[in-house]
């Protein structure tokens, strides 16, 4: 049982200072920009909630948000079941486990722009392994710079390639924590593979899967570097996800006010979804 001790705050203080410095100061800067208008020369004018109204009504924002939701939803639908399936198929002991874990963790440790560049090289129609195979060997026309469908498939495939391993690692960690006795009991009862999964493995994985879904939701919702390097948001605007659009507004057009308002709306959406999910998943534990 934990003891009540207010002096514990002293232990937390360094973390609080470091994170607050990095989180609160920039956040307040963004809030500050979001209610002002600037014409350059460091002159700012009060704009009230105008940017917020404008963005919430703008079709461009709705389109980017729609693409973002589609992307996040699709990769979750693919990565979570796939990750669980691979974790279930992994052996529990032996040298092969270490080999699997090391090789699977590899994509997680590649800098994000290298991931984008790597997939770009991989899919080039004339000289990329995938691009060449599709076009010249299988005879399927596949060119990311021309076809939005090809661009979307590639962006999603890249994310699956990049992050499914995280789900595998988490699900596997949940699986190996299940005592052997549970499986023995199930065998005595003559439980099918499905019931073992449904009533033993899945409930035991609930905690780590919550973490996996949360992390994948947050990170995929904020994704920027990889798709930007891979497609640059194109062809046209077809793969311009929320972050890419935001950077276009903020740095490309230097519209600080609208960009700041857009980031705040964006942040609030992420926060709300994560909080809702976190509360729902941990509801039964308290």
């Amino acid at each position: 049982m934990k003891t009540e001790n207010q002096r514990a705050w002293i232990f937390v203080l360094p973390v609080l200072i470091l994170v607050a410095f990095n989180a609160l100061v920039p956040l307040m800067t963004v809030v500050n920009y979001s209610v002002q208008e600037t014409f350059g020369n460091n002159q700012f004018f009060w704009a009230g909630l105008r940017w917020f109204e404008e963005i919430l009504q703008s079709e461009r924002f709705h389109a980017a948000l729609g693409r973002q939701l589609f992307f996040t939803f699709t990769i979750l639908i693919i990565e979570i079941p796939l990750g669980v399936a691979i974790a279930l198929a992994m052996p529990r002991k032996g040298l092969w486990v270490s080999v699997c874990l090391v090789l699977m963790a590899l994509p997680l440790l590649i800098p994000w722009n290298v991931v984008g560049a790597m997939w770009n090289i991989f899919t080039l129609p004339k000289i990329g392994l995938l691009g060449w195979t599709m076009n010249n060997w299988l005879g399927i026309p596949y060119n990311m710079t021309v076809s939005p469908v090809a661009a979307w498939i590639t962006v999603i495939m890249m994310d699956v390639w990049h992050w499914t391993s995280l789900v595998v690692l988490l699900a596997y960690a949940g699986l190996i924590s299940i005592p052997e006795a549970y499986y023995q009991a199930a065998r005595i009862d003559g439980a099918s593979n499905w019931s073992v999964f449904r009533y033993i493995q899945l409930p035991k994985m609930k905690r780590v899967l919550t973490i996996a879904i949360l992390l994948r939701f947050m990170d995929s919702f904020n994704i920027y570097t990889e798709p930007f390097v891979l497609t640059g948001g194109g062809p046209g605007n077809s793969t311009t996800l929320l972050s890419i659009d935001l950077v276009k507004v903020a740095l490309g057009q230097f519209d600080l006010g609208p960009a700041a308002a857009m980031s705040l709306i964006y942040f609030v959406i992420t926060l709300a979804v994560s909080w809702l999910f976190y509360t729902l998943m941990t509801r039964n534990e308290q």
């Binding site: 590649i110 090289i121 991989f122 976190y278």
Partner: protein, 265 residues
């Protein structure tokens, strides 16, 4: 049973294909790359690697990245250790809210913070230093380190703390000589994840540096745009960014899977 063991194999094959392609490209000459498709390099060349290791703007990129990543891991762990202890052992005013607030910092899109970060670190006279990047990466690494360490610490029975007090240990001495060694694995896992997320992040690192502390990944993008499209060189630089990660994974391979499992949620 046979079919089942094929699943991880096929998955690993899928993971290795783009990496193989990058590796193959890095040993090809630019002429061969642009000349057409070949599954293996026809004429092996180390020229791309040689170019990187003889050009200071390239290899300093690696050194810069390694410096700020190490610095970040050390700062994150030093701050997170006592905090994780507090979360695992004590109840205090606002502890649950504080914990969730820490986690929310992973949710802020880095793209949102890029400009304010630039202004903040310029104002603090830290722009273009390794420390700036190391401190900025604390934003997402400290919450993660606290989360992982708290899980490992909660697995250590409280009796350990009590016995140490009875034996006359002061708190700092107990914490450093007894408690931390008993969660070695947790410290290793937390260090691994700090290293990982600091190593792969580019947007903030690129925003906060210009020349002196420029990370390797940023060197890659700038070189690619200025010196035309040298795919071979780009591929070689990419391959080299994978190596430090691979070494780190090898050392913590037995602990990675446990890392998150013990964390709370």
């Amino acid at each position: 049973m046979r079919l089942r063991s094929l699943v991880p194999l096929i998955y690993i094959l899928f993971l290795m294909l783009p990496i193989y392609w990058l590796l193959a490209m890095s040993f090809k000459t630019t002429n061969e790359i642009l000349g057409g498709f070949s599954l293996f390099p026809q004429r092996w060349t180390l020229a791309n690697y040689q170019a990187i290791f003889t050009d200071p703007t390239w290899y300093w990129g690696y050194i810069n990245s390694i410096i700020y990543v190490s610095l970040n891991s050390i700062i994150s762990l030093l701050a997170a250790l006592p905090a994780a202890y507090a979360f695992s052992r004590f109840r205090f005013l606002g502890d649950k809210h504080l914990f969730f607030w820490l986690l929310t910092n992973r949710m802020a899109p880095a793209a949102v913070f890029a400009l304010p970060f630039f202004q903040l670190y310029s104002a603090a006279n830290l722009f273009d230093t390794h420390l700036a990047v190391a401190l900025a990466h604390c934003l997402f690494n400290i919450p993660l380190a606290v989360w992982i360490l708290e899980g490992f610490m909660s697995g250590i029975p409280k009796e350990l703390d009590e016995t140490a007090y009875v034996d006359g240990y002061s708190f700092p001495r107990f914490f450093i000589t007894i408690f931390i060694p008993s969660i070695k694995a947790g410290v290793g896992v937390a260090a691994f994840f700090c290293f990982m997320f600091s190593w792969v992040e580019l947007l903030l690192a690129k925003t906060l540096t210009a020349v002196e502390a420029k990370p390797i990944a940023a060197t890659m993008t700038r070189t690619a745009s200025s010196a035309g499209y040298e795919l071979g060189l780009l591929a070689a630089a990419g391959v080299l960014t994978i190596i430090p990660g691979a070494i780190v994974i090898y050392f913590v391979r037995n602990y990675i899977a446990k890392g998150f499992a013990l964390g709370r949620v």
